[in-house]
């Protein structure tokens, strides 16, 4: 079943077409990767999906809803969550609070119940803290709930960001270079975590990734972007063998050499 259906999505910045008439068709429960050289429009594509950029043309349907013209928080409330290429945590809030912010649109409390401290408010707060700790343990964090997010080591911050995204109960999770800057062991752990998110929580994942080893290990389908266009799509083995992909990554000359 198609979960995310993108048709002819285009995003321009002045004269530059960062995303050029892109089509995507992503099945529910899929582990999907988007690769491409720097500046090929992958992150712009994510930003156009999640309402951070307003695309000029095209349609995006997610789970029966159109995402075009929605604000980022509205997109999130339709159960699409994301992480960022450069970690964007709320640095001077605690890890626990960071994760609870992710539950924002699920919390029924409002200004008045918060001021009056009603029983439903207290119960909801307690339940949200409990769920936040559960999410922390799911991503492998322990005993850091009270730490300020900015004081965590890099790998820990990545985990918090994923837990925060999971807190919004997504059906689709967009991960923007989640293993960038990780050492080999951290990368192995991260891959295991992504698999568990998909298998245990049933969340569809779209991954932007640079590390080919990661991509080939984990993905079920791969798309390749170059200069804003989708130049190839297929199974990992097909992508590995695709000459256009090699060309995009290594340049025409190198690709020709490899064929010799």
């Amino acid at each position: 079943m198609t979960l995310l259906d993108v048709k002819g999505l285009t995003k321009r910045f002045g004269g530059l077409t960062a995303v050029d008439r892109i089509d995507f068709d992503i099945d529910e429960g899929c582990m999907y990767s988007i690769i491409g050289p720097n500046g090929s429009g992958k992150t712009t594509f994510f930003n156009s999906l999640t309402g951070i950029y307003k695309p000029e043309e095209g349609e995006v349907h997610f789970n029966g809803h159109s995402l075009i013209g929605l604000r980022p928080d509205q997109v999130t409330s339709l159960n699409v969550a994301r992480t960022f290429q450069n970690i964007r945590l709320f640095g001077s809030m605690t890890v626990l609070e960071n994760i609870i912010v992710g539950m924002h649109h699920h919390l029924a409390q409002n200004t008045f119940t918060a001021l009056l401290r009603t029983k439903t408010f207290k119960d909801e707060e307690e339940a949200s803290r409990r769920r936040a700790v559960e999410l922390m343990s799911f991503v492998g964090l322990r005993g850091v709930g009270d730490e300020l997010a900015q004081n965590l080591p890099y790998g820990g911050q990545r985990r918090v960001e994923i837990a925060r995204a999971l807190a919004s109960k997504p059906k689709l999770l967009l991960l923007d270079e989640p293993t960038a800057g990780m050492n080999p062991q951290e990368t192995v752990d991260a891959i295991a975590l992504f698999r568990r998110i998909r298998d245990e929580l049933g969340i569809t994942i779209i991954l932007i990734e640079h590390d080919m080893k990661v991509v080939m290990q984990i993905s079920e389908r791969i798309s390749v972007m170059d200069y804003g266009k989708k130049i190839a799509e297929g199974l990992p083995a097909e992508i590995r063998a695709d000459s256009r992909v090699i060309e995009a990554y290594l340049g025409r000359g190198a690709a020709a050499e490899m064929n010799h």
């Binding site: 999640t50 309402g51 951070i52 604000r71 980022p72 928080d73 999130t76 409330s77 159960n79 969550a81 994301r82 960022f84 964007r88 945590l89 709320f90 640095g91 001077s92 809030m93 605690t94 626990l96 609070e97 912010v101 992710g102 924002h104 649109h105 919390l107 409390q109 409002n110 200004t111 918060a114 001021l115 401290r117 408010f121 707060e125 803290r129 409990r130 769920r131 700790v133 559960e134 999410l135 922390m136 343990s137 799911f138 322990r142 005993g143 709930g145 009270d146 300020l148 925060r164 995204a165 999971l166 807190a167 919004s168 109960k169 059906k171 568990r196 245990e200 929580l201 049933g202 969340i203």
Partner: protein, 474 residues
């Protein structure tokens, strides 16, 4: 840093701190300190150090480890018994504590906007003006003077509303200021950072200039002359008599109605502060407060996590404005006079510097910030000025350079350097202590977190959040 690298002064300080926070010592220390300070001020009402000692006792009371009930009782005695008695003995002190409480309330309100939501508002005092002019207009004769030239009120003009409607206007002022904040916020909060600061700065000036010029075609604000007299709420006569009977022997002379009014407004301001603190504390520890902080830390990430950014900012703006509004009504009634001059840009900067000095987002910090700035303004700078002018009138000379004090220019009067001082405070704080005198702290929940973690571990294998699966609910 290892222990032996500490300098002797620091270790002495640590030792003193350890001794002071052990067992019953803090209780004894606070009570002794308070009694000494109170007696000293009582016996020599003009001694500034004595008064500063008394003010600082509130600081010790807050920070030393004592039971909450002790803090509450001693705090109430300090605020509701000692301060009023001392304030009436030396009416200048009453002005100081009144200003501290007014500016604390304002700074706490601004702290919601700047400290929590991270929206730099340089025109905060405009909301204060809205509240003040609201009561000034309806609580005076102004409504019957719409067609008169400013300053030519015919004799026996009646007041438009009875004085007791002041209490209603406390709430109306709150609501109207919140509404103005909301309306201003609608277009303004779509801009970020520096732009927001510039727009709010402009807005602050617009309100002041409006107040200055709305004396024609219809005389709404009486122009630069300001509106006066503004009514004060009636105080119940029975209560006055009872209070006078209690206060007279304590103060040593009969207390005038005017002094009672000053006390009344001081206590009213304290009540507003209590309300602000409760509201801020409760909102801070809820979805609203977390959303404010998330927007402050990273607007884009907050939006991506489902926080409606504009709505969240609007709420902060409106709540912050509402507290300024209620203080404005209180200010107008306490002074019985408002004029555009009370709401100039320097007032906004003054309140902002209190927030920054005390600590952005920190409630005790902001109150300390307000107290420090007010005391600097009203006591330290003016005290220095008096001292200098006394020197100037004497024949004293500065030794070594042989400079006669009487030749010292009037321009060097410290009281004229209030603005310079704000500037220096802001610069120094930004360089050496960005987080303020008493930095904000996040709530810690170590015990609860550990308990849940253990709980999860005991349920072994069920480590993943069961209800997270969205498939289950859709």
């Amino acid at each position: 840093m290892t222990e032996n690298k500490k300098n002797p002064l620091a270790s002495l300080f640590d030792a003193a701190k350890a001794w002071l926070t052990r067992g019953k010592t803090p209780y004894i220390f606070i009570l002794c300190y308070l009694v000494v300070a109170a007696v000293w001020v009582y016996l020599s009402p003009r001694a500034v150090p004595a008064f500063l000692m008394l003010l600082s006792s509130a600081f010790f009371l807050y920070f030393m480890p004592t039971k909450n009930i002790f803090k509450l009782v001693v705090g109430l005695i300090l605020a509701l018994v000692i301060m009023p008695v001392i304030g009436v003995r030396n009416i200048f002190y009453l002005e100081v504590i009144f200003q501290i409480s007014v500016f604390s309330a304002l700074a706490l309100g601004l702290n919601i906007v700047v400290g929590f939501a991270g929206l730099l508002n340089l025109g905060y005092v405009a909301f204060y003006a809205v509240g003040a002019y609201l009561w000034a207009f309806f609580g005076s004769q102004q409504l019957y003077l719409l067609n008169e030239i400013p300053g030519t009120a015919p004799p026996n003009t009646p007041f438009f509303l009875p004085a007791s409607s002041f209490y209603l206007f406390l709430f109306l002022g709150m609501g109207v200021a919140a509404l103005v904040g909301f309306l201003l916020g609608l277009p303004v909060l779509r801009v970020r950072g520096d732009y927001l600061a510039i727009v709010t700065l402009g807005f602050g000036e617009v309100i002041r200039v409006l107040a200055n010029n709305l004396d024609k075609p219809l005389n709404l604000t009486n122009g630069p002359q300001g509106i006066t007299p503004i009514q004060r709420p009636p105080l119940p006569a029975g209560l006055l008599v009872a209070l006078r009977n209690i206060m007279t022997p304590l103060v040593g002379r009969s207390v005038t109605d005017n002094e009672f009014y000053n006390l009344f407004f001081y206590i009213l301001a304290l009540m507003v502060i209590v309300v602000v603190i409760v509201v801020v504390n409760r909102l801070d520890d809820s979805k609203i407060g977390r959303a404010w902080m998330a927007v402050r830390e990273d607007e884009l990430a907050a939006a991506a996590m489902g926080v409606p950014v504009v709505k969240t900012k609007l709420l902060a703006f409106a709540i912050g404005a509402s507290f300024a509004g209620v203080m404005g009504v209180l200010f107008a009634a306490s002074r019985t006079f408002v004029s555009p001059e009370s709401f100039n840009f320097m007032q906004s900067i003054g309140v902002l510097s209190m927030v920054i000095l005390g600590g952005l987002g920190s409630i005790p910090g902001v109150i300390v910030g307000a107290a420090v700035v007010v005391v600097l303004n009203l006591q330290v700078l003016q005290g220095l000025s008096l001292w200098l002018s006394a020197l100037r009138q004497s024949d004293a000379v500065i030794p070594i350079i042989n400079f006669a004090w009487k030749n010292l220019s009037n321009q060097l009067d410290p009281a004229k350097y209030q603005r310079l001082l704000f500037g220096v405070i802001l610069i120094l704080m930004m360089i050496y202590r960005q987080t303020g005198l008493i930095p904000a702290e996040r709530r810690k929940r170590a015990a609860e977190i550990t308990e849940i973690e253990n709980d999860i571990e005991n349920n072994n294998g069920n480590g993943h959040p069961a209800e997270t699966s969205p498939a289950g609910e859709v």
